[in-house]
Symmetry: none
Subunit: 210 residues, 4 copies
Amino acid sequence: MGRVEENKLLKQTNLMDTAFQLFTSQGLTKTSISDIVERAGVAKGTFYLYFNDKVEIRDALVRAKSSQLLQDACNAMDRELSDGSATMDTADKFIFIIDYLVDYVSKDINFLKFMSKHLSWGLFAGSHHTVQYHSDEDNAPVIDFVAYVGKMLEADNVKIREPRLLIFTLLELVSSTCYDVILYSEPMPLDEFKPHLNRTIRLLVNDAIL
Amino acid sequence: MGRVEENKLLKQTNLMDTAFQLFTSQGLTKTSISDIVERAGVAKGTFYLYFNDKVEIRDALVRAKSSQLLQDACNAMDRELSDGSATMDTADKFIFIIDYLVDYVSKDINFLKFMSKHLSWGLFAGSHHTVQYHSDEDNAPVIDFVAYVGKMLEADNVKIREPRLLIFTLLELVSSTCYDVILYSEPMPLDEFKPHLNRTIRLLVNDAIL
Amino acid sequence: MGRVEENKLLKQTNLMDTAFQLFTSQGLTKTSISDIVERAGVAKGTFYLYFNDKVEIRDALVRAKSSQLLQDACNAMDRELSDGSATMDTADKFIFIIDYLVDYVSKDINFLKFMSKHLSWGLFAGSHHTVQYHSDEDNAPVIDFVAYVGKMLEADNVKIREPRLLIFTLLELVSSTCYDVILYSEPMPLDEFKPHLNRTIRLLVNDAIL
Amino acid sequence: MGRVEENKLLKQTNLMDTAFQLFTSQGLTKTSISDIVERAGVAKGTFYLYFNDKVEIRDALVRAKSSQLLQDACNAMDRELSDGSATMDTADKFIFIIDYLVDYVSKDINFLKFMSKHLSWGLFAGSHHTVQYHSDEDNAPVIDFVAYVGKMLEADNVKIREPRLLIFTLLELVSSTCYDVILYSEPMPLDEFKPHLNRTIRLLVNDAIL
DNA sequence: TATGAATGAGCCTTCATTCAT
DNA sequence: TATGAATGAAGGCTCATTCAT
């Protein structure tokens, strides 16, 4: 990558980081492109060199941030496994990962509001029209979550009917239910809901195992 | 209800009907309040007599329309059952109802986009801060979906662990997965996805039966 | 005064009291007629039965309140004189009265802002298009300030060239200078300004004495 | 000053000139920002690049115009003095200048209404948050009125107790009394009032001379 | 007399977007 | 590439005023 391209990427990253801060702190609609460029320290016109509009940068951020969050969950899983203390079956591992996700968003309501129910977009990151993005704060390249799960299953010596579908279904289920549960305690508070959620996850995972 | 109050309800219904038409035909952001009042044939100020802003009328509509859709599904279920031709167990009935919902939104993409993943809001309709609303097009009063399912289970002589939770979970699962499946064919087209969805529904329902 | 007229006056007084509260607490432009009628507990239309617009009620209030303030100053003067302790010449008396006015407005900035530099309007109250008004809080009928001063001069056995003109000039001088002095400390703070003001008052009064 | 900055100042001056015309011809409240920008031939948004709201441009204009008027009065004084015909003492000079001011506003009632009683704001122009402004119509740079008077006194070999305070007091007295006198003939018509005013000016000036 | 729902013109302001520099 | 002044359509919203009840 040449100096010019590198510089370009830096500007873009800067814009995305700034936009993310503003989106999560004051909301999407309350954040104007003026706000973003002012805080980012670039001119208005510069924004349009990198993004066509606010929706584009929003979508790019949702993909990037959910992808990053999945990555973090994988890392946490790896740490847990290398501890060697616990014995986890495949369903336990799914539950662990999802628990990590739920914990994270329940501690950062603004992040949850920004992501809405679109946690699964992180799965499709890397595919069509994804903006290259790697925030300064993040410390590792983002890998493919489906691939990670694949390796996990391999290690467990377990085969699953449609791994990608299972992952998608679980993520949608989790992000969708938890959105209402966390934000509105509807139909019940999170800690009351969690056991049911885990039971459902185990059910779906075990059913998918061939 | 006095003449004045009747008139007020009519104005509100008129506004909501008009807003719904515009939201589903040209999208939420592309619809201005000016558009709504112009088409509804009332003054701008009148809108603010009934709603505080666009978000409020949107939310009221999401609740009302999803509630109505659930009602329609119940009616379809009743018709099917009164046919007497088919023998359906409890899981079959859930699958039938959900199939009705999915069919409906898959045939009206704009409706799906408007509702986003919030089909379950129809469950909470009738509860807190719900605007009274009954569109001219609709032909029956809206009853409580949870209550309907309750009676259904009674008729089947079946007891379920947490009926409200099951219904919520299923609705979230369905509306969330189908949103991506229908709009983006992600991770697969709808007809390919449906068998998996049905299998999952059956799994969850049977697991909930005591 | 018949019951009907009495009632009418009560409504009007109620509206003016309410308007005054709002004008002084949130400012003239920030106060809408809706605010006034809502707080006063009457319907929108009722306002227009008593006043043509906001300017009319504002002007009526400025006249009434400045008139009342002048009255209060007279009462204070009377109390001071009946004490018998002090010996005051005519200029002293003017200074005493004006000091009362300045003290009052300097302790109620919002009142000062509302009255602006129009303290002398209280002189013309009772004349053309003045709304009859007597707030609940006030305890005495409002008399004519010029007449009061006339009696005061008589008691002092002093004749003045043009009493009404002197009073007008002094009031304008005081309200105008003190407005800037109190609100902006321009060209100097109030306590620094007061000696100069008093010197000027004495100068003008003595010059007017025949 | 670069081309861009020059252009900016021109735009601002243009806006202020236009606003002044409208404010004085149709009044402050009857003039909308739409009116101003339309007449000025710029876009609505451009207004907000230079002023935060209508009050800001109004205040800037009051300061600028009163400052300009004081300047004009100084120029007239200079012309009068260079004529050499008259012999004027210090009080005469003050009376001359004030007479110029009163004459001016009495011939332009709309200007008087716009300025209200705030003629003294011209004294503080040049100080804090004053918008740079120099109308096309005006032909000379605006100097400091207090400084002008200072030189005048020097030439007269006269020392005054608190020159700035005297000037402030005189200006407030004049603008405040003449506002009511000219607009409402209250308490008497202008020509009847003028001798009294002049007497008062002379009194105050001579008293201030050390 | 009193009401308050309805009006609708017009308010101020925002903001995505452009383009000359 | 980058800038940021200028744009102006469109936004949400207010509010004085009316009038049928």
